[in-house]
């Protein structure tokens, strides 16, 4: 059963009554206005207007007006309705106008066509304009491995040699293919054509505009590279493989590598979404160990130097998956 007291606790937080009125002059209050701090930040952000149309002591509609970002402009209006006056709210409507232009905001580029039951693309000027202005950035500020600046006795792997295999994948989703290409070329001395590699991978279902985790080693198998995939590893496992002359491919969350911890630039999902080859671990500065990558996803990814902690955080998003490879 819905009653006036409850919608004041609609979104948590605190509320206070502003006014109540008997608008039809029959001696019974029918209109109620309260104001609430719904997010508990100490700033009142929502006005709630409630009406008891049939004077039965039970609220029939309640409309909340919320200023989400505190700019003094109402952003969201939500209305709950007891349309059959049975004391139970049976419908809820939300009207959103976040840009304050008086026009309901709507899906940017798609719409649902009720008649056909299909999703149809719409033209969306604001989205097109926004995309035109977007310039992707990468980790240009990350350093690249320079053997002259490291102590070779403290470097696992042979990053200088491995860096010779690096290529940039461009806007493709071929990171796992490129990582395998780097390893295959270095271990076999054989040049691998990426287009042929992709065609083979597609034909075998190992690549569909991207690679599934368990298909990350299929090209290695095809080229006869001894390899083993495992999860829940730690950095010592990578180091051991590199120290033994092996090669390592991992999956990780590339956003953590490329964009760091800007808390206003993020994706709502988390998980490993990129494959790279780990070509070295540089402990030349023991207080600042660096993991060295051949990262095909960044134009600056040849011998990309990533702080160990950053690498591990990104790697953990993929459950510390690694593929060890030997000739």
């Amino acid at each position: 059963m819905y009653n006036y007291g409850e919608e004041n606790a609609l979104f948590g937080g605190s509320s206070r009554e502003l006014e109540s009125a008997d608008t039809d002059g029959n001696g019974m209050l029918d209109t109620f206005v309260s104001i609430a701090d719904t997010d508990g930040d100490g700033v009142e952000d929502t006005i709630i207007k409630s009406f008891d149309y049939n004077q039965d002591g039970i609220i029939d509609t309640s409309t909340s007006y919320t200023d989400l970002n505190g700019d003094g402009v109402i952003d969201a209006v939500s209305k709950i309705i007891d349309s059959d006056y049975d004391g139970v709210a049976d419908r809820q409507e939300t009207f959103v106008d976040y840009d304050g232009d008086g026009v309901p905001d709507d899906a940017a580029a798609l719409a649902y066509d009720q008649a056909s039951g299909t999703i149809i693309p719409l033209s969306s000027d604001y989205l097109i304009d926004s995309l035109d202005s977007v310039q992707s950035t990468y980790a240009e500020q990350l350093d690249n491995f320079d053997p002259s600046e490291s102590n070779p006795a403290l470097v696992s792997g042979d990053p200088a040699t491995s860096m010779e295999e690096w290529e940039f994948q461009g806007s493709t989703n071929r990171c796992a293919l490129y990582s395998q290409k780097f390893v295959i070329q270095e271990l076999t001395g054989e040049e691998v054509d990426i287009e042929e590699m992709e065609a083979i991978a597609e034909q075998n279902g190992w690549f569909n505009d991207g690679t599934a985790f368990l298909n990350m080693n299929k090209m290695l198998d095809l080229y006869g590279i001894e390899n083993e995939m495992s999860f829940n590893n730690d950095i010592s496992d990578i180091q051991e493989c590199l120290d033994n002359g092996g090669k390592v491919i991992v999956s990780l969350d590339c956003d953590e590598i490329w964009y760091g911890e800007d808390h206003n630039i993020f994706s709502p999902t988390s998980g490993a979404d990129h494959a790279v080859e780990v070509i070295g671990i540089d402990n030349s500065d023991p207080s600042n160990p660096m993991v060295i990558l051949n990262d095909s996803g960044s134009p600056n990814g040849c011998g990309e130097m990533v702080p160990l902690d950053t690498f591990v955080d990104a790697w953990e998003d993929g459950n510390c998956q690694m593929i060890t490879c030997y000739a």
Binding site: E7, A107, L127, N319
Partner: protein, 179 residues
């Protein structure tokens, strides 16, 4: 003792689920906000998989269409459906390689990453309450329902709303439809 199911934990567990790992879902795709479905009297969790691409610019992370759907029965958490939407007639006109929106949308531009994740955790806790109510007759109030409605409408990217209408029409009508 209250019986509970954690939607958040179910979603986390999908990352190492053997079925998911062996499916065709590529690494660029990850779990989006799920919806609840009722199919032949069975309660299910419908998990969409979509990708985002950070561009390095604030509020211009690209949002791509949902491409895969995994449906899980509750409470036993069995995967009962896997679908790649490229083969669904409802999506015939959609280019899955083209972005359809930007993140953060305006409703959440005041939330940083930590705050966004907290709000999403709150949404999933509301889902837990719905599930507990439906499966175990645990208490669930109109205020709980309105809280779920509020959080979902705030957090879900506007560009994804039409897709959610296809994912489950009943859930959409109850929680996402704007008259």
């Amino acid at each position: 003792m209250n019986k509970t199911i954690s939607i958040s934990n179910i979603i986390k567990g999908l990352k190492t689920n053997p079925f998911i790992l062996n499916s065709g879902i590529t690494m660029e795709y990850s779990e989006g906000i799920p919806v609840l479905g009722i199919k032949n009297g069975y309660l299910t969790l419908i998990v969409p998989y979509l990708k985002y691409k950070i561009t390095g610019e604030v509020d211009k992370t690209l949002v791509y269409p949902v491409r895969y759907v995994v449906e899980i029965s509750l409470p036993d958490q069995r995967i009962v459906r896997y679908e790649e939407l490229t083969t669904n007639p409802a999506f015939e006109s959609i280019d899955f390689n083209q972005p359809i929106g930007l993140f953060r949308h305006k409703a959440i531009q005041h939330l940083d990453k930590k705050e966004y994740m907290e709000q999403r955790d709150s949404l999933y806790e509301q889902y837990d309450k719905v599930v507990a109510s439906l499966l175990y007759d645990e208490p669930y109030s109109d205020v709980d329902d309105m809280q779920l409605h509020h959080l979902l409408n705030m957090l879900l990217e506007p560009s994804l709303r039409p897709i959610y209408q296809v994912l489950d029409q009943d859930f959409y009508n109850k929680y996402l439809k704007n008259d």
